[in-house]
Symmetry: C2
Subunit: 108 residues, 2 copies
């Protein structure tokens, strides 16, 4: 990631779920999409993403299926109903957290 990696902690799965809300994607493309949607601010490494995808699938927040395209095998991920619920919760949590930090930062 471009940012101090510690800042990111706890937000990565939120970002991944958020990207997948827009439609099924495979790992490599998720990284590219995150880059695009954040205007190059988030450059997630593969060593970060793949373990997250596996963990989210294990938790049934994502489902995967293989698909071939021009000689390449891609593993697509699809967000489940449970995943959408989790996304909404995590989003809310992030917003509350962010608001609280701002409260402290801008305290007068």
């Amino acid at each position: 990631m471009k940012y101090s990696k510690e800042l990111l902690k706890g937000s990565t799965s939120l970002l991944v779920l958020s990207v997948l809300k827009g439609g099924d994607l495979y790992g490599y493309k998720i990284i590219r999409e995150l880059e695009r949607r954040s205007q190059n601010e988030f450059q997630m490494s593969e060593g970060t993403l793949y373990p997250i995808l596996h963990a989210l699938e294990k938790e049934k927040l994502l489902e995967s299926y293989w698909q071939e395209f021009e000689g390449r095998n891609r593993k697509y991920y699809h967000i489940t109903k449970k995943g959408l619920k989790e996304l909404a919760e995590k989003k809310e949590e992030f917003e509350a957290f962010s608001a609280s930090v701002n409260k402290v930062l801008n305290y007068v």
Copy 2:
């Protein structure tokens, strides 16, 4: 912390520096102040705070001095010029980070 602790990572020293910008305080009181300013959202544990204070002092972002009050010894921390600079940078970083997350979350 009240929040998923992972979300906090990377923000704790920002919060501490921010509280100390308002005036010198000792460890125990910093925790209380953080609570107050965040309206009870941030409940930093002592095991989190004290190592941070020591680290920040080592980095010369904080200076400390002992003061006695009603039989109790308190170690006051004072933010240095370097600390103020670091605070401004970290604040900006947090705001940019937060804006980027929101970009991804609210992408259409």
